[in-house]
Symmetry: C2
Subunit: 595 residues, 2 copies
């Protein structure tokens, strides 16, 4: 088995940290009679699919990437058939409304299932992930007519969705978007322009592809305030819902990428043959706001990709470390031993494990907050959870993906020379991981969001509230008083205080020296990620202590991993905080010419 979904670990996080029972009792879900056991059944089904159908395609897809032939994208062998099974099993519709054919399940449960598909095969998982974001945006912003025409077939997986933002001159800076949308007079627009880096912008999985496209109408204001959102299907859809004529959007090339090679990354040309017919979503000039709905979901999704990839790389490294026999045990042995017994290999594996478990716990807690924000009957609860979710999204994206690059790199290192040989497969994870801190907004873009919209705008209220929750966990650790709890309390407390110091600095200094503060933005994100994931590891430690009698091996490992996190990862935080608070000016000291 190349991938084994960590169902037990996921259930631990859902039960003890993310509160599956509270989520299940939210008004929208309680009729379904959901509980921890039904969640586990769903996860087990998902695990089977991920392990048996999707994971085996991962390496082959890397070796035989998607390609363009006579204007059509041919995807990697087996992917189309696997996607058909994904659709047939109804996985795409898990969280969507029953009126559109979905199953209306909590996002917490869906997130665990998505993690598995991501671990199994990042390239494969991108197609459902982008479709998911497109459904979200249409659900929130589109007219009933558009919803009816497109959403049910996307929820079923019959059609897929894409996100068209980037253009050659407009990457992180969407103000530079040039794609034009000209009103035809019948309520539709004709779209003209070039979009690049469109994931699954064309493919052969489904009969239709629904593109969501940012474009400018003729008289809109300059910059991001003049961008509108359009639905542009690959094939037009007749009023009776049938596939109609081919629309004027064409894949003119695919990128030659470092990783995720099975997923086609398209250059899409709109309007070279008269104009692509597009339907405006929501209000004119409000496209960016709608795209952000999609983007928030996609950013969280990419964060999950980081966690998923880290877990896959970890599993591969563990397996190799148990098999590979090399050198004697440092404490003495009659012959060479499996390298998992060597302390530095353990350090690398523990690092991979601690990062992955910490980031997963934080992500599940975050998505449980989203479920509460969307479904709680209490307005204050909704608002609090919404603020928590909004604060966490850039952290889940930035922290989980940056750590995935580091974890995949450690995975290669554990394989030694074998890790550098492509056939081993560890190198694929290292290559695949590298896109994660870039797409759906680079880590710097996440960090700008974290400082600008999420910290300064509310005067630090959201992060200060989180700081209080962390302090409450510290008090629980103190009350527990075990050796592991004491270690965690000390390191978590030091990290929290360092984080609070950074927040004070950000709040106090942004007006007087914005460039110095933003020089620390990514490090601030890193400090938040390390500390908040460490907080979840602290909660995990407390839960594991309570349940230790039930399964001593599992819970003992959880406690040790939490302690490792405290002593090896939380200890980084004070130094990083110092770099932010003291090192902002010097970062900007050199002129462009001095580089």
């Amino acid at each position: 088995m190349t991938y084994q979904a960590p169902v037990k670990e996921m259930m631990f996080v859902m039960n003890h940290l993310a509160g599956i029972s509270q989520v299940a009792s939210l008004p929208s879900f309680e009729d379904a009679g959901l509980d921890s056991d039904t969640a586990e059944s769903i996860l087990s089904e998902s695990a089977k699919f991920a392990q048996e159908v999707v994971a085996p395609l991962n390496w082959a897809g890397d070796q035989q990437p998607s390609y363009l032939k006579d204007g059509h994208v041919i995807t990697s062998p087996g992917f189309k058939e696997a996607f058909a099974q994904y659709v047939a099993a109804g996985w795409q519709g898990m969280t969507h409304a029953q009126e559109y054919g979905g199953q209306g399940l909590p996002k917490l449960i869906a997130t665990a299932c998505q993690e598995m598909i991501n671990s199994a095969n990042l390239s494969f998982s991108l197609c459902p992930m982008l479709t998911e974001g497109a459904i979200e945006a249409l659900t929130v912003a589109a007219s009933d007519e558009i919803k009816t025409r497109f959403i049910p077939n996307m929820v079923s997986g019959k059609w897929t969705g894409t996100m068209n933002l980037t253009e050659p001159q407009a990457g992180s800076d969407l103000a530079l978007v040039r794609t034009r949308a000209e009103p035809v007079g019948d309520g539709t627009h004709k779209i003209f322009g070039t979009k690049i880096y469109i994931t699954y912008g064309d493919h052969d999985y489904t009969e239709n592809i629904i593109h969501l496209v940012l474009a400018r109408t003729p008289n809109g204001p300059a910059g991001v305030k003049g961008i509108s959102l359009f639905v542009v299907p690959k094939f037009l859809v007749t009023d009776s819902g049938q596939i109609g004529q081919r629309n004027d959007v064409h894949c003119i090339s695919l990128e030659h990428k470092l990783g995720i090679k099975a997923s086609p990354t398209a250059v899409l040309q709109y309007g070279d043959h008269g104009g692509a017919i597009g339907y405006m979503v929501g209000e004119e000039n409000n496209g960016l706001a709608y795209m952000f709905i999609m983007m928030n979901a996609a950013r969280f999704g990419v964060g999950m990709q980081g966690i998923a990839l880290a877990d896959r790389a970890y599993q591969k490294a563990v397996s190799y470390a148990k098999d590979r026999v090399q050198s004697r045990d440092l404490a003495g042995s009659t012959g060479p031993v499996a390298i998992i017994h060597h302390p530095d290999v353990k350090r690398m594996l523990m690092t991979m494990r601690a990062y992955t478990e910490g980031a997963r716990s934080l992500a599940y807690v975050t998505v449980a907050a989203l479920d509460a924000a969307e479904h709680s009957s209490d307005e204050k609860t909704r608002a609090e959870n919404h603020a928590f979710y909004e604060f966490l999204v850039p952290i889940i994206k930035g922290f989980s993906t940056e750590m995935s690059v580091q974890v995949a790199s450690l995975g290669v290192q554990i394989h030694g020379g074998m890790g550098f040989i492509e056939e081993t497969g560890a190198a694929q994870h290292y290559r695949d991981a590298r896109i994660l801190p870039i797409y759906e907004g680079t880590t710097a873009i996440q960090a700008n969001d974290l400082i600008g919209r999420k910290t300064l705008r509310d005067g630090g209220a959201a992060i200060q509230a989180i700081g209080q929750q962390i302090a409450a966990t510290e008090a629980e650790l103190a009350a527990s008083g075990t050796a592991a709890a004491n270690v965690m309390k000390e390191k978590l407390g030091a990290a929290r205080q360092a984080l609070e110091q950074v927040v004070m600095y950000v709040l106090a200094q942004t007006k007087s020296d914005i460039k110095a503060v933003f020089a620390g933005s990514v490090t601030y994100l890193q400090v938040c990620g390390l500390t908040l994931a460490g907080w979840q590891m602290a909660r995990a430690l407390l839960a594991a202590q309570q349940h230790q009698d039930e399964d001593s091996d599992f819970y003992a490992a959880k406690i040790a991993t939490a302690q490792f996190y405290a002593q090896h990862l939380l200890t980084q935080v004070p130094g990083l905080a110092m770099a932010i608070v003291e090192g902002g000016s010097v970062t900007n000291a050199l002129t462009a010419e001095q580089f």
Copy 2:
């Protein structure tokens, strides 16, 4: 120009940190009338060759790797011709004795030249690097007959050399080597076995290849004490020095690698057709000791590859950051600006720059110590410099290569989505870098050496002597009293104290809990690397302050980079030290089954 050799920066390090004038006045060199100006002329010649001949092949070599055809290795287009130019210009012989046709130059100067070739093209540079190590080993250990037969043609570059250690079951653990050497009776041996991962194990650059091979004689003891070293030429060499018959060593396959694809990585089969004729080097069963001579040179060389790659990745990122226009300046601008003006891009560039300058300074200082260790007329000076060099080799290797992976990754990040597209070239550096912490001994192997042979064996004498030198630099910083010097003094002092605390811990605890101590070995190496490179940046800061009037832009940038190093990199050290001292036990807490 894809690569610009940083001659000015290199001369700064040689003049102000590594002491080129002291090196030039060593007995072996003073007759040559060397000085800083002659060194600069040599560097400028080397820069021209690296930039114009070698660098342009780098990307093409990645796209058209070496391959095996009918038992022969065909190297990437243009490489053979470039190597011929390398040989014609005499670059291979720079540091070797004039009796073998070399130029007898200091290794300090050669190191700067090698850095350039490495930056220009890692795959190309591996061939001279391995030849260099082979020459070293033969010079020290071989009989006069073998020396005469092989060394002059290797020094000239007419023939190349390789290092044959690894076998499928014997990677880091050379005790497991199985290759056999059977005495023929005429003083030669017949070699039988399979060696893997042999860099430039076969190629078409030269008429002959001189393999140095570890193998076991029939009655040797088990383990590493029964390994002998043999010279096994691809073609036998007649007594008159002519190319003779083909020897029984054959390349049976080339690896499909993540990076450095132009360099052929061979599986060599010895003795399938009766036995490959080999000549024992030095004494029987002493092979590992001789190989270590070669390995020390090669380890330092690989450390230089890390620095070289980091510089290349940095240059590429700077160039992109100056060209790419995206988003307004945070402090306000009328339109979008080049991304180099964005604080997080500056943070990434400064990180790349600070790591590269710090590691380079430390490496040049180290190789200057080797020149003194080999050539000083004073025994005590030789011994002190030798101890310093020996202590530093695993750090130069481990620290410089680990940081190169991180720097290459930042290089990709600065390119955003473009970084993930292979044609951009940033991804090649990310792929190429990944082998550096693995080959010639993984970082863990370096770290074991650092703790075992270099710290415990002398009771910490070497590192404590270095600590005193660092404290002396701190005193100079205090005497200077500038703002930058004060910042550096504080951070360097904190790092040194943390390092000293780690050394105390290692010395005190290894006997009682060796596994806990070695769980911190790589982190200890990291602490040493960060602190010692920071020390060199502190010395650079002091020198730059003294000379600031001469070239204010250059020296101001140097001071700012040193301060950035202090505030962003040295600040990591106390947290890492805490992880070593407190976190050793928990690293080993899980059994193999719990992973």
